[in-house]
Amino acid sequence: MNLAVDAPPVTPVTPINPDRTARALRRLRWRLTVNTVRAVLHGSRLRLSMILGCSLVFWVGLFVLFLGGFEFIGLNDEFFHSIFEYLFSMFFLSILVMLFFSSGIITYSGLFQSREGTYLLSMPATPDRIFAYKFFEGVGLSSWGFFLLGSPLMVAYGLTIHAPALFYAMFLIYLAMFVLLAGSLGSIAAILVANVFPRRQRSVLALAVIVTIGVGAALGSRLWKTPGEALSADWLGNLQNRLAFCQHPLWPSRWMSAGLLAAARGQWQRTGYYLMVLSAHAALAYLAAAAVARDLMYRGYNLIQGGRTSRRRWGLQALDDVFHRVFFFLPRPIRLLLLKDLRTFRRDPAQWSQFFIFFGLLAFYFLNIPRLGYAVQSPTWRNLVSFLNLAVTALILSTFTSRFIFPLLSLEGRNFWVLGLLPVERSQILWGKFAFSVGISLGATLALVFLSDLMLDMSPLMIALHLAMVVVLCTGLSGISVGLGARLPNLRETDPSRIAVGFGGTLNLLVSLVFIFAVVTALALPCHLYYLGVENPESSRMALSHAGFRFWLGAAMAMGLLIGAAGTILPLRIGIKAFERMEF
């Protein structure tokens, strides 16, 4: 049958006014915002005040830090002033890079991978309107973090050099333009990646991030090694030379810093000039982004939708058998659940790549410890560094448990009809997750801390102590993430990263940080004081004698174990209780 011959006439359609769709989308955004704010205000006050409180503490902390720093170096010195121009350029350049990536990622997932994106594409709006709608959402989200980071700096700076009030207003305008520029560039990159590498977006991103980190690290180490006595005129001159690259007149960050510094000194002509340069480029970039979206967004969406692999996955039966044999003492359903989690872990590159990148970087740093010269330093130093390394390992582990372990139960909740019907008690499911988390984290962290201690040439006793601390930290962090994950589940969200950045995830991260801090300081303190005493026996009265050290170390170990036990058992109990009562 050939339908083309008797094709029916084209059905007339009254053309749609694109401004109407744009307005509809703007109203949609507005209503969504209003409804969300209303829900937040009517919802849990605790949550709201916690979020506001944390932001405030963060802001004030940064502000005090910057203010103190500025007063310390004394901004009124003309020479320092020029250095500041460099430092600000550097700061905004790094912000530019971060905004580029964050808005690129947000645009990519919002347009091409979200269900809202699909829905909007089925509506009679032109792609550039849809792009505009999603773009401002993404840019709003990413500029919020920038504002939180940049405004204390700017306010502290303005206060120290007694800037006119208009400076602060200028900061907001500059910020808006800067974000628009960086966001547009990021979105253009995202749409191009979708079109050129529709199946490789993760590799492209990983490569870009690695290159960026590499370049950043190279620059950082160059700056770090600036020759000369710190803060001497010579040193500052050299530093300036090494920072010269960020003063290139074509960097948007340069326009930003030059304009803002001019505003702070009341040089309005210069301020206006840089504002015009910046806003013209921002507008052009946005226009280009909209044009790219108009022509390529739909194509990119198609390429990505067609790109889902239907590759067959192998179960690796042999591995499963080994697993069953090694963990024969666990009940079989628990073993099966663990296997399921392991398999998910294995097939989700986001999880293990993050795991390997972070722990790989740490291992790299630890391996280079001898070259950094810590080993030849005093025992006090080495002791301090060893505890710092331990703390850093734990911190990275805590981000990992918050990002991946915490959402596990929320995700299970969606599939609870499977778990709920299994012949296991609910508490066992939680214990299974706990074992999974401990098992995954313990191996890596033990190896890392052992490596760090070896490189620092620590005594066997200290190594044993550190390894024991790692065990305590791993169980504690796992207990916290599993317990809180069960107590504060988010059953709506399917995306684990969004669960992790929600209220529960943030709280989980905070509790984890407090826990690490408590355990590490409890043990680091007596050790530090002891080594102080060993080094210069008469000078410090705070130092511990050998006998005192034994006593205090014992006390600290008991304390650490206690904190560890509390940090493991308490959250798990809370979680189990909540989980057993939970209705799905």
Binding site: I16, L28, S310, R492
Partner: protein, 251 residues
């Protein structure tokens, strides 16, 4: 009104839809029948302009389906509909009205009508996040109809609807078709196709195996009895490995 001309969609090496021809005329209720994974959703997404065919063409009202004009003609209910959690049902419908550039007073009247038809008065002013599956489904149906589409495309209707809502939706299909709308619904449920459709297209493995009215299909296949047997016969024939089993070699 709705046309697929040799439409093909490949996902990598996999051919999800294979040279499919299809036409749904105004006033016709067409049931797109096939087992899971047959390529129904993929075809429908091509008709709605969400996927572009790897080869061939998808047209609505004589226009390429990815054009905004074609989208104005289509009312689409996807298999996994999307609603904004933080909007109320009424706000969502208003959004759709505005997107379709319908004059607001007329739109408002239409929304009231639809609230009435789908009996949504009780919950329409609550946030969508609190809706049950069936409530969501009804809002989505209403949103596909606010702009009086000339072509209604529904992917797996009746999933998650209680019998009463299912009745409403079925009646609606029929009345839309009688009012001159081209209705295309995909389903794996034989009974619905049998009950409602003017014409039935049976697909499997991305190919159209047979098209026609129920009587016509039966006659062509020289087959008596319920549609189910016909369906099983057709779809098992298209699977080379199972032919023997379907022909009764197996016990």
């Amino acid at each position: 009104m709705i046309e697929l001309l040799g439409a093909t969609k490949r996902f990598g090496a996999k051919c999800a839809v294979d040279r499919l021809d299809l036409e749904v005329r105004p006033g016709e209720l067409f049931a797109f029948l096939g087992p899971n994974g047959a390529g129904k959703t993929t075809s429908i997404k091509m008709i709605c302009g969400l996927l572009s065919p790897s080869a061939g063409e998808a047209r609505v009202g004589g226009r390429p389906s990815s054009s905004p004009e074609a989208r104005r003609l289509v009312g689409y209910v996807p298999d996994q509909p999307y609603l904004y959690d933080k909007l109320t049902g009424r706000e969502f419908l208003r959004f759709v009205v505005e997107m379709h550039d319908i004059e607001s007073r007329r739109g408002e009247r239409r929304i009231l009508e639809l609230i009435d038809t789908f009996e949504m008065g009780d919950f329409i002013d609550e946030l969508c996040e609190s809706y049950s599956q069936g409530m969501k489904q009804r809002v989505v149906f209403a949103s596909a109809l606010v702009h009086d589409p000339r072509a209604l495309v529904v992917d797996e209707p009746l999933v998650g609807l209680d019998p009463r809502s299912a009745r409403i939706v079925k009646d609606l299909f029929v009345s839309q078709a009688r009012a001159g709308c081209a209705v295309l619904m995909s389903t794996h449920l034989l009974s619905i196709a049998e009950e409602l459709a003017d014409r039935i297209g049976i697909v499997d493995h991305g190919r159209m195996l047979a098209v026609g009215g129920l009587a016509e299909l039966r006659e062509r296949m020289q087959h008596e009895g319920p549609l189910e047997d016909l369906f099983l016969k057709l779809t098992s024939d298209s699977r080379p490995g199972t032919r023997a089993a379907a022909n009764g070699v197996a016990p």
